[in-house]
Amino acid sequence: MKIRTYAEYAAAGETPEILFWVGCAGSFDQRAQKVTRAFAKILHHLNIKFAVLGTEETCTGDPAKRAGNEFVFQMLALQNIEVMNGYGVKKIVTTCPHCFNILKNEYPSLGGNYEVLHHATYLQQLIDEGRIKLTDTDRFKGKRITYHDSCYLGRANEIYEAPRRVLEELDAALVEMKSCRSRGLCCGAGGAQMFKEDEPGNKRINIARTEEALETQANIIAAACPFCNTMLTDGVKSFEKQDQVKVFDIAELIAAGQGLENIVL
């Protein structure tokens, strides 16, 4: 798969339709890389002209900001804004709710004004427009999927329906966890918790959330965030359920439904 950078588009005198903001997890984390590839395959398949910033992309600054380091955040943010404004970026789609939140809500007052979409919303739009057609949903027949609300997509930006609408396209039963939507339980990664040990307590948050997910008897836990994905995958492993219950991003599930991805359930 050939991925073109914004620099390459610019050199060819072309303008891409969207900037695909990959994010640090999507770039470096092995599990999240698969999601990045799945989403890129969908874009490719639909002939959507998209660019990435590639080596010109840096962290949005989210973990620093939430940890309290406004300085590091703004340094990265201003740098990213300079790059994006230089290319005249108009529309961004990202597979990470943390990147989505910060690009959409916190970049504008620093001079970065773009239309920012999370891939849940973008996929839903493509489905609504009839551009995504699922041809390969047999493997989902009779399966149960439970969707885990990411805090930064859900409560932070009140996007609850789009990911569910996307999942409805698969021929599976959607089941809800005990706490869902605005009351969804955090996976435990936000606020830079991902990058440090937990404070003393009697349980890890991802274990508490995985318990809720397992209670639904789902075969698939659907996530829309690379960090939730890691947390829940770890949780499922700690219950030794990884052979029965799989954690997938909504992009991977849709790509599989399009016959672009071969996921094993």
């Binding site: 050939k2 991925i3 990959v22 640090c24 770039s27 470096f28 890389q33 590839r37 990435v52 080596t55 992309e57 840096t58 962290c59 973990p63 620093a64 900001k65 939430r66 940890a67 309290g68 380091n69 406004e70 300085f71 590091v72 703004q74 340094m75 990265l76 201003l78 740098q79 939140n101 809500n105 916190e106 620093l110 805090c151 409560r155 932070a156 930006n157 009140e158 605005s182 009351r183 339980l185 955090c186 435990g188 990664a189 936000g190 606020g191 830079a192 991902m194 990058f195 440090k196 040990e197 937990d198 404070e199 003393p200 307590g201 009697n202 349980k203 890890r204 948050i205 274990i207 508490a208």
Partner: protein, 440 residues
């Protein structure tokens, strides 16, 4: 004679209570003003809507139906009892008895309206009684977890019990007053509940009934005055502050955290060396990054702290608290308020000037670093709060201070910051490898 004595006593008690109440509310107001300015007056229409729906309409309470219904009993009871209170007040200063009733006695429509109103107050009072008993039951017998957390030990639990018991006391007074009054006048008023209760007193003498009526009347009024004075020292202040607090609630998406303009300025200077920095004011106090103490927070954070009902819905939903961490968003609010009270009292004792007492909101018996570190910024606390408080906003401001002023970060965060600065990612990967995912 007795009539004038009663008027005299009424005015005196009212004046004393109003004086102390004034001091209490003024204290709260002055303390809130210690916070930093923040403009929260845009979009007035949306703000009115929030206030009407959330404070007046109790919208967010109905996420949990049982406590919402019980609370609604108390809330409606409180609201409509104010009508009867108006008559009590008029009777008190004029030395009359049921002045409104007598004014409308011969006007059938208004009379029916009056009797209907007092009857609905009586019915509401029965519901209040049920609600109050249920609340005491939930807190002290069922021991609902969110109402039995460590931060409630001592005054908070006593405060909750005081108000609930005072509520029952007020109900007893209202019913003694109305029932005795009905019995004295052969039920001519026709109030819904006391017309039933009066049967219990049919063999009481005129004198006993008169005394009972007076005790009920005075007891009710004194109870109300006591409530008014006590309110600014109690979590029950929320019955007033819920209104401004929902009106001034932030309207930005919950995920939004403000960008610090002073830091933008500094970084822009770094990025563009040709720019000249504005001349520094040599007398300006050194800027403080984030918040270390209550005066560093915004006035809205402080209003939040005084509005907190200590209901613990936030803590019950907090993933950190749920999994045994020390963090409790309710405690964040209570500690902020308690420290604010301490600072306010110190300022008052020092002739209106703040003298550093060597303490702050962080540690010193208030919010610990361990608590601050445990937050996942998930916004569950903000979502749950029935009066639109944001404990998260305070947590983030305190975190900023810890990191940027005290360089107090866990080692993993320190290396995360370094990675972000050097490689543009929280992990130690090279920026040059950003596109490697495409080659797999």
């Amino acid at each position: 004679m007795a009539k004038y004595f009663q008027i005299y006593l009424f005015v005196l008690l009212t004046a004393i209570a109003f004086y102390f109440a004034y001091r209490g509310y003024r204290r709260v107001y002055q303390n809130i003003c210690l916070g930093k300015p923040e403009d929260l007056t845009d979009q007035p229409l949306q703000r009115w809507k929030n206030m009407l729906l959330v404070a007046f309409g109790q919208k967010k309470m109905f996420k949990n139906v049982i406590p919402a219904v019980l609370h609604l009993f108390l809330y409606v009871g409180f609201l409509i009892t104010q009508v009867e209170l108006l008559e009590v007040f008029l009777d008190g200063i004029t030395g009359s008895h049921r002045i409104i009733y007598h004014a409308v006695e011969n006007l059938p429509v208004l009379r029916t309206l009056y009797v209907g109103l007092i009857s609905s107050i009586e019915i509401a009072s029965v519901l209040v009684f049920i609600g109050t008993v249920a609340f005491l039951w939930r807190r002290f017998v069922l021991k609902v977890p969110r109402l039995n957390k460590p931060e409630l030990k001592g005054f908070p639990i006593q405060d909750a019990a005081t108000i609930l018991i005072a509520e029952i006391y007020l109900l007893i007074c209202i019913f003694s007053m109305n029932t005795a009054d009905m019995a004295l006048h052969e039920g001519k008023y026709g109030f819904a509940v006391s017309s039933v209760l009066q049967n219990l007193f049919h063999n009481w003498s005129h004198t006993s009934l008169t005394i009972m009526e007076r005790i009920g009347w005075w007891g009710h009024y004194i109870g109300v005055l006591g409530f008014l004075v006590y309110l600014p020292y109690s979590k029950h202040l929320h019955i007033l502050l819920a209104f401004p607090n929902t009106y001034f609630a932030r309207l930005t998406p919950k995920g939004y955290v403000n960008n610090m303009p002073e830091i933008t300025r500094e970084i822009k200077l770094m990025m563009d060396p040709s720019a000249t920095p504005p001349p520094a004011d040599p007398n300006a106090p050194p800027p403080r990054f984030g918040a270390k103490d209550v005066m560093d927070l915004s006035w809205k954070n402080l209003l939040d702290a005084y509005t907190c009902t200590e209901c613990g819905r936030c803590t019950a939903a907090c993933p950190a608290n749920m999994t045994g961490k020390k963090l409790s968003p309710r405690k964040i609010m209570m500690d902020t308020r308690d420290r604010l009270e301490e600072v306010g009292a110190a300022i008052a004792a020092n002739g209106g000037v703040w003298k550093d007492d060597g303490k702050s909101l962080i540690e010193n018996g208030y919010i610990t670093i361990e608590e601050l570190r445990a937050c996942t910024t998930c916004n569950a606390c903000v979502e749950e709060c029935p009066v639109m408080i944001s404990p998260l906003d305070i947590i983030l401001q305190l975190r900023r201070n810890l990191i940027m002023e005290e360089s107090n970060a866990p080692a993993e965060w320190t290396s995360m910051f370094t990675n972000m600065e050097n490689n543009g990612a929280p992990w130690q990967f090279s920026q040059q490898d950003r596109l490697n995912w495409a080659n797999a």
